[in-house]
């Protein structure tokens, strides 16, 4: 599939960059993440079937930023950041597997990562219905994932 990267970036780059800046709160790290988001999408472009890639780009950016937050483990500066760090830490401990499952979902086979779902609902403020539509799951499925994440967060708190 021939894809003009420059045109693709011109249309979606600012959106992806804003997303990464919002989640990472660091312009330099956000720019770095933004490039990697495009690389992830383009690596699988032959299976990219969605005619509205903004959703795929935003979900990929969310997942990638969560992974980076998880490894950065910096001290949160406000409640939003604190929440993000909690989500990043509480997500499935097998993070690479979760990342794979998000990507698989993006390319139409599996489900989104729990952390991504949590960010959409708890940080972005999407309703459960909107989250479900974004990630291609049922509302009850989204609710169940959020419950699991909450339980995991509580477990971590107990350990701490």
């Amino acid at each position: 599939m021939g894809l003009d990267i420059e045109q693709f970036y011109r249309r979606y780059g600012p959106m992806v960059l804003r997303r990464c800046e919002r989640l990472l709160r660091d312009p330099e790290k956000a720019a770095d993440a933004m490039h990697d988001v495009f690389v992830e999408i383009l690596r699988r472009k032959e299976t990219l079937t969605d005619s509205a890639p903004s959703s795929l780009l935003l979900l990929t950016a969310t997942n990638l930023c969560l992974n980076r937050l998880r490894s950065a483990r910096r001290k949160p500066e406000n409640r939003d950041e604190e929440l993000l760090m909690e989500i990043a830490s509480a997500e499935d401990p097998a993070a690479p597997a979760a990342a794979r499952s998000l990507l698989a979902h993006l390319f139409r086979s599996q489900k989104a990562s729990t952390g991504t779902i949590a960010v959409l609902h708890l940080v972005d403020g999407l309703t459960l219905e909107e989250v479900a539509a974004e990630v291609g799951m049922s509302v009850s499925g989204v609710r169940k994932r959020l419950r699991l994440l909450k339980a995991r967060a509580a477990e971590l708190e107990d350990v701490a």
């Binding site: 045109q7 011109r10 600012p14 960059l17 690596r43 903004s54 959703s55 909107e130 539509a133």
Partner: protein, 250 residues
């Protein structure tokens, strides 16, 4: 819910016209109810212009393309690390490719090894000569143990198409990195050509034009199925080795 601010996430998709119809209508209505809602779309457009000025498309696209090329190499290294709890194991793998050519490998005089890796998702594997591959597989070529100074890599496929891989453009043969495993700057996606994809590494002690290898490859390609097993007809001061991938149906 009616008094909430439209989430930025949905605003972005609305601005791009990529929300499903019903969701777009709901988002528009919500924005209309919001104080300063309409202004948010204008602000987004201003932000687009500012960010594109800060990260110009041409430079960003070049960086994305650079990372895209590097990603297969990175994955390969990860795989290599797994393969080689000790460096010796990897050396043994390379040596096996060099010293024990599989039945379909044509090995003529040369010492240099042509290495082929395949990336499928997060998995990268080193392929053995004669391995089966599918259209759409991403393969990374590398060479190792080059003793001669100049080289080219060309391929012939089952449809008779000849492709130059090293150097990237027709001209002088590439100067090889001696005695070090060296991957080509780009990974390749296999197309739907039938039967096989055969790569040739051609080396010489003296500089030569890549067109010599290309011409020999075209002549061989014209011989149909012989291109799968026969060597390139080259002057005797050239050395060559080859690697065949058998194509499976898509």
């Amino acid at each position: 819910m009616t008094d909430r601010r439209l989430p930025d996430y949905l605003l972005e998709r609305l601005a791009l016209g990529e929300l499903p119809e019903e969701a777009a209508r709901a988002a528009q209505e919500q924005l209309a109810r919001e104080p300063g809602g309409a202004q948010r779309l204008d602000d987004l457009r201003d932000s687009d212009a500012e960010l594109l000025a800060r990260h110009p498309p041409q430079a960003a696209a070049a960086e994305i393309a650079r990372r895209q090329r590097a990603v297969v190499v990175r994955l390969r290294r990860r795989r290599t690390a797994w393969l080689t709890a000790s460096a010796g194991v990897f050396a043994a793998v390379v040596l096996a490719v060099v010293l024990r050519p599989a039945p379909e490998q044509t090995w003529i005089k040369g010492d240099a090894a042509l290495l082929v890796y395949r990336s499928r998702g997060a998995q990268v594997e080193q392929l053995q000569n004669g391995a089966t591959a599918r259209p759409g597989d991403t393969v990374q070529l590398a060479y190792a143990r080059a003793r001669q100074a100049y080289g080219t890599i060309v391929s012939v496929d089952g449809a008779g198409k000849v492709t130059l891989h090293l150097p990237e453009h027709d001209g002088e043969a590439a100067r090889l990195v001696r005695d070090t495993r060296t991957e080509l700057p780009h990974a390749y996606e296999l197309d739907a050509a039938p039967e096989f994809e055969r790569f040739f590494l051609i080396t010489s002690d003296s500089p030569f034009r890549a067109s010599i290898a290309l011409d020999a490859a075209r002549k061989l390609a014209a011989r149909g199925n012989a291109a799968r097993t026969e060597p390139l007809a080259l002057p005797k001061d050239f050395e060559q080795s080859s690697f065949v991938l058998v194509k499976a149906s898509p």
